[in-house]
Every structure is written in structure tokens, then in C-alpha cells.
């Protein structure tokens, strides 16, 4: 490895490479911040562009877009409660309340630092432990995926602020909505009512935009500004966006969770952000402040989703198995340059591969600098009158929902989810839990079905494998504080 690192580092000093990484990160931030535009879409569109470029330039460009895109999702999530990417959904839980308290700049600063360190941790793992970690990820079979989904679902306990019954109902409602469309095992169409647009299931992004963004703008119609009720001092503090202390542990934990979950094909950044948020809340001394603007909530979610970047590239480079859809698009970029994933990438093409990995460090640095510098300017969005902001967000939500499949049906679905989400939220049902059910439903169902086929119907397959047992233990540990907390509350009452 060391014989490739020095020439790889030297190759990065080429101004053209540095410029490409910067451009990639900027494009990624814009794409990430825009609901409906995904890093996958941007990387896929770049593949033909990179064809004529030297391999390192092309890969650095795509890596920059990936890193920037993962961070960019936090911007709209924090300021407008409109996650630019699904991975930034968990960021909104505490980021948006912070913005409403006039701390939008601080939330963006935390997001930038947490994303940066999450990305750095996962890139270090990619650099030092890629082959070992890739083989570990291969030990995850359908039963482990099912238990991982259950572990993700245990976050419902965390996301529920009031009644646990209502939180669970919301989570199960999400699982129910996720059953719409083709059954992954038999191919049977369920609850589609003959609507072709539902054959692939309820599209996730329009549902997410509706539940988070439209329900929020409907709530904002009663106010003149997002930061209504704040005095001038609080508003000017938007410009002073210092990083709060005591977030190091949360960020480190999120980076590790992101790296591990990112390695698992199909799991992805969204789940890792929810799991990390759950860990952060359950281990906090003040869990009741989560969901009300706790900086640790932002740090946990953002460090985990950026931690997935390096994690998802580990099985891609070593085994040719992309960790998620962006990594799959990146694989297209590798193939088009004639680079076949596997051991040769680290030997014959070592300088190029390590150059690409090192370029991810730089991409993280670029979005950190841009994010910190621009945070106060982005945060000014919160002082825009709602009468202008509401139609603006509505237009972006409409184009964001439409752009995924170029389909007006998705727009109507988004509006429907928005109105339903508004009333569910007012009724005390967590929309976050609903989204979680929607995300994890397909993974849980597929893992459950495939496992039972493997075990010929015996549910013991979920309990007699070492990794499953470890995941069950972690899940139970995460659930304990919620129930002991409830007992404490009753005692104190």
C-alpha cells in the first residue's frame, strides 16, 4: 500500500485534480440541497462526461459529488424541514427546531463539521481496512438484514415524543404503505388498484417531501416567519454560528455506525442516520431535549450519513458489490475507465485507486470550508417572509417530486402525503416513525421472506446466528432506556 500512497498523493497536487474535486463538491452540495435531485442522478449523469477525462479526474469529480451531495441534503433539511436527500431526513428532527429557534447557522455549522468527520472516519476505514471490512459485510445474509431492519425500527421509540402507542401505529402505518406494489418474492401486485405508477411501490422521495415539507409549510401558514417570536438578538445570532462543545463522541460514534451500515449493500445512509440518532438519544443524559433542537441530534445524523460514503465504497472497490445506488453509479464510472473492482485495483492500479481514496479526504475538506463559510448566508433563508417562502418551497417540492420519475402522479402523491402528514402530526403521530417504516419495510419484508425460505419456515434462523444475536442484543439495549425512562417518569409523577 505504502508504495502507492506517495505517488497517489503527488497526483492529487495537480491543479486540475484539485479544481475537479472542488467543482464536484460544489455540484454535490447543490444537488444534495435540492429535494428530488440525488447524488445517484448526478453521478450517473457525469459518467459520460468523465469518459473522455483522465481516470483520476473523472473519479475525483464523481467522488466530490458524492461527498458534497451527502452533506448538501442537510442544508434544506435544517432550514426548511425539507430533506434534500432521504439520508438527511433524521437531520430535520433537531435541525429544523434549531432553525426555528434562530440557531440555523449553528445547526449548519454542526452539520458541516459532523459530515466532515463522518466522511473522514469512513475514508480512513476505506484506506486502511477495506479488504477485511468487505469480507465482514459478506457475512450479512437475509436474517441479519431482517434483524438490522428491526434495529432501525427500534428508533421509533426514539422518534416518539408523546404516546408510544401512537408512535408504533405511525411506524406500522409506514410498513403498511411500503407493502404497496409488487411483492418482492412472488411478483404479485398488492394494493395497486390497477394504477401502473404504483407497481414499483409508493415512491419514497415524494412521500418524504410530502410528509416533511408540505406538512411543514401548511403549519407555517399560521405564522409570518419561520423564526417568528424571536427577538432581534436571536436573529442576529444566526450570523454567529459557533460549534457547540461536547459533540465529539456523538460524531465519532455516528462515523463508525455510518461506515459499518454503509458497507452493507442495500442498507444505506438513511438507515445509518436513524440508527445513529437512536444511539445518540438513548445514550444522552437529556434524551427529552431530542426533537426540540438538540445539537447532538444533528451531529449524530450527519456524521452517520456521510460516514456511509467511505463505507459504501469498501465493498465496491474490493468485491465489486456497490453499497448503495450512488456507489453503483460510481461503479459505472470505474468500468467506463476500464477498471474492474477487485484486488487488481489495489495492486496494478494502486496509484489511481489510492489517489481516488485520498481525493475523498479533499472533497470532505472542500465541503467543510464551503459549508462553514456559507452557513450564515444559507441561514438567512429563515428570516424570509413565509408568504414568499411557502410558495417557493411548494414549487421546489413539486419539481423535486416530479423529477424522480418525470411523473405528475408523484406530485399528487406528494400533496396527499403532505396533507395526511399534517393531520397525523397534529394528532400526535410521528411522521418520522412513518418514514422509518416506509424505508425499512421493504428491507424487513425481503429479509423476513428470504430467511424463512432458507430455514424452510423455521423462525429460529433469526436467533441462532452469531451476528443476529449480536444485533438483537444491541436492539434490546437501545430499547431499555425508553422503558426505564417511562417508569422513572411515572415514579416522579
Amino acid at each position: 500500500m505504502t508504495e502507492h500512497l506517495v505517488p497517489a498523493f503527488m497526483s492529487l497536487l495537480d491543479p486540475a485534480v484539485l479544481f475537479t474535486i472542488t467543482i464536484g463538491s460544489v455540484v454535490g452540495i447543490i444537488v444534495g440541497a435540492m429535494p428530488g435531485l440525488t447524488a445517484t442522478m448526478a453521478v450517473a449523469l457525469l459518467i459520460p462526461v468523465t469518459f473522455g477525462m483522465p481516470p483520476l479526474l473523472g473519479l475525483s469529480l464523481m467522488g466530490g459529488v458524492y461527498c458534497g451531495g451527502m452533506y448538501g441534503g442537510a442544508i434544506s433539511s435544517i432550514l426548511l424541514s425539507t430533506p434534500g436527500t432521504p439520508a438527511a431526513a433524521a437531520t430535520a428532527f433537531d435541525g429544523y427546531p434549531m432553525a426555528r429557534q434562530g440557531k440555523g447557522g449553528t445547526a449548519l455549522t454542526i452539520a458541516a463539521w459532523a459530515s466532515f468527520w463522518g466522511g473522514i472516519i469512513s475514508t480512513i476505514a476505506l484506506l486502511l481496512m477495506a479488504p477485511t471490512l468487505a469480507h465482514f459485510s459478506l457475512r450479512f445474509g437475509p436474517p441479519e438484514y431482517f434483524v438490522l431492519a428491526i434495529m432501525g425500527l427500534s428508533s421509533i421509540v426514539t422518534l416518539t415524543k408523546g404516546s408510544m402507542i401512537k408512535g408504533l401505529i405511525a411506524g406500522f402505518l409506514g410498513l403498511v404503505v411500503a407493502t404497496v406494489g409488487m411483492d418482492p418474492l412472488s411478483g404479485y401486485m398488492r394494493f395497486t388498484f390497477g394504477q401502473i405508477d404504483l407497481y414499483d411501490g409508493v415512491p419514497f422521495m415524494p412521500a418524504l417531501i410530502g410528509l416533511f415539507s408540505i406538512s411543514q409549510i401548511l403549519d407555517l401558514t399560521a405564522e409570518t416567519r419561520i423564526t417568528e417570536g424571536l427577538d432581534g438578538t436571536s436573529l442576529t445570532s444566526i450570523k454567529r454560528s459557533k460549534m457547540p462543545k461536547g459533540l465529539g463522541g456523538t460524531i465519532f460514534q455516528g462515523g463508525i455506525i455510518g461506515t459499518i451500515v454503509g458497507m452493507l449493500p442495500g442498507a444505506g445512509a438513511t438507515i445509518s442516520a436513524f440508527i445513529s440518532y437512536n444511539f445518540a438519544k438513548q445514550s444522552a443524559k437529556d434524551p427529552e431535549t431530542f426533537g426540540k433542537g438538540n445539537p447532538k441530534g444533528v451531529a449524530a445524523a450527519e456524521s452517520a450519513n456521510n460516514g456511509c460514503v467511505g463505507g459504501s465504497i469498501i465493498p465496491l472497490l474490493t468485491l465489486g458489490i456497490p453499497g448503495n445506488s450512488v456507489a453503483a453509479a460510481l461503479m459505472g464510472g470505474l468500468m467506463i475507465q476500464g477498471l474492474i473492482p477487485g484486488p487488481e485495483l489495489f495492486t496494478r492500479y494502486g496509484t489511481l485507486t489510492y489517489g481516488f481514496i485520498l481525493s475523498l479526504f479533499l472533497a470532505n475538506l472542500v465541503f467543510l470550508v464551503l459549508g462553514l463559510y456559507l452557513a450564515p448566508y444559507f441561514a438567512k433563508v429563515t428570516s424570509t417572509p413565509n408568504a414568499l417562502l411557502i410558495p417557493g418551497i411548494a414549487i421546489l417540492s413539486v419539481i423535486g417530486s416530479y423529477a424522480i420519475n418525470n411523473n405528475m402522479f408523484d406530485v399528487w402523491l406528494m400533496i396527499g402525503f403532505g396533507i395526511a402528514g399534517y393531520f397525523l402530526d397534529k394528532g400526535g403521530f410521528s411522521t418520522g416513525a412513518l418514514v422509518l417504516g416506509l424505508i425499512l419495510g421493504p428491507i424487513a419484508e425481503l429479509g423476513f421472506g428470504q430467511s424463512l425460505i432458507l430455514s424452510q419456515g423455521s423462525p429460529m434462523i433469526f436467533f441462532n446466528r452469531p451476528l443476529c444475536i449480536a444485533l438483537w442484543i444491541i436492539t434490546l439495549v437501545l430499547m431499555i432506556p425508553a422503558f426505564t425512562g417511562g417508569k422513572k417518569d411515572r415514579k416522579s409523577a
Partner: protein, 145 residues
């Protein structure tokens, strides 16, 4: 949240569970595992809704106003539905250029310069990012062809 509202949500939950149960009964044999999964979800949903029905009084929290500003709330919903309906006919850009000022005025904003500026910026931004750079074929409506 009143106990009555909680009861209404409970009944809706049980209704949905019943619909799921009846829907899964028609699944063919090849989708037996899918049906089992739906039965499981329907069962849990029904059980949780039943618990909520009987505990609706205990679950009743602080009274929440469903809609704080009815005029603005319904204006926004109607404008959004009208906007969605207009896009296939007027095209995305014309519909957006009409929607933004219309909703801003309905919400009580009376500064034409800022409305025009805001509309122009949003429309230009969407055009540059989605259409010019990413080639998203937005609905053209009457401008098609």
C-alpha cells in the same frame, strides 16, 4: 387532543386493518408469504388501535388546534391543487410563474417587487438546475411542440 379525536383515529386504524386483512385474503397461493406478512401488519395495527381506543382518555394530551389559520391553510391547499392541475395544461414554468404571486398575495404579502423578484429567481433556478444542466423534461403544456 381530545379523547373523541383519539377514538376517531382508533376507528380509522381498525378500519385500515380490516381492509388489509380482507385484501390479503384474495392473494393467490404463490403469494402466501406476502399474505402472512400483511396479516401480521394488520393484526398489530388492529391491536394497537384497540389499545388506543380503550386508552383514549389517558392518551389525551394538551388540546392542539388543528388549523391555526383556516383562511391561509385552505388557501394554500387550494392553490397547490390548482397549481398541480394547471401544470399539464400551462406547462411547469407558466404555472409556477402564476402560482407563486397568487399564493403570496393570498397569504397577505403586498410587495410586488419582492414577489416578482422571488418568482423570477425560483423559476430561473429551477430552469438552470433541472432543465438546463440535468435535462429533466418538465411538462411543457400548451408550449409543447
Amino acid at each position: 387532543m381530545t379523547p373523541t379525536t383519539n377514538r376517531l383515529f382508533s376507528v380509522a386504524g381498525m378500519g385500515l386493518a380490516a381492509v388489509l386483512f380482507l385484501g390479503a385474503k384474495d392473494f393467490p397461493d404463490r403469494a402466501a408469504s406476502a399474505a402472512r406478512y400483511i396479516y401480521f401488519l394488520a393484526g398489530v395495527l388492529a391491536a394497537l388501535s384497540t389499545i388506543m381506543l380503550f386508552r383514549s382518555k389517558a392518551l389525551a394530551g394538551q388540546l392542539e388546534r388543528w388549523i391555526r389559520s383556516p383562511r391561509n391553510f385552505f388557501s394554500t391547499i387550494v392553490a397547490m391543487i390548482g397549481y398541480g392541475a394547471a401544470i399539464p395544461y400551462l406547462g411547469f414554468f407558466l404555472a409556477s410563474a402564476l402560482f407563486m404571486p397568487a399564493l403570496a398575495l393570498l397569504l397577505g404579502y403586498r410587495r410586488p417587487l419582492f414577489i416578482a423578484l422571488g418568482t423570477g429567481l425560483i423559476v430561473l433556478f429551477v430552469y438552470l438546475v433541472f432543465v438546463y444542466f440535468l435535462g429533466v423534461p418538465v411538462p411543457a403544456g400548451i408550449w409543447e411542440g
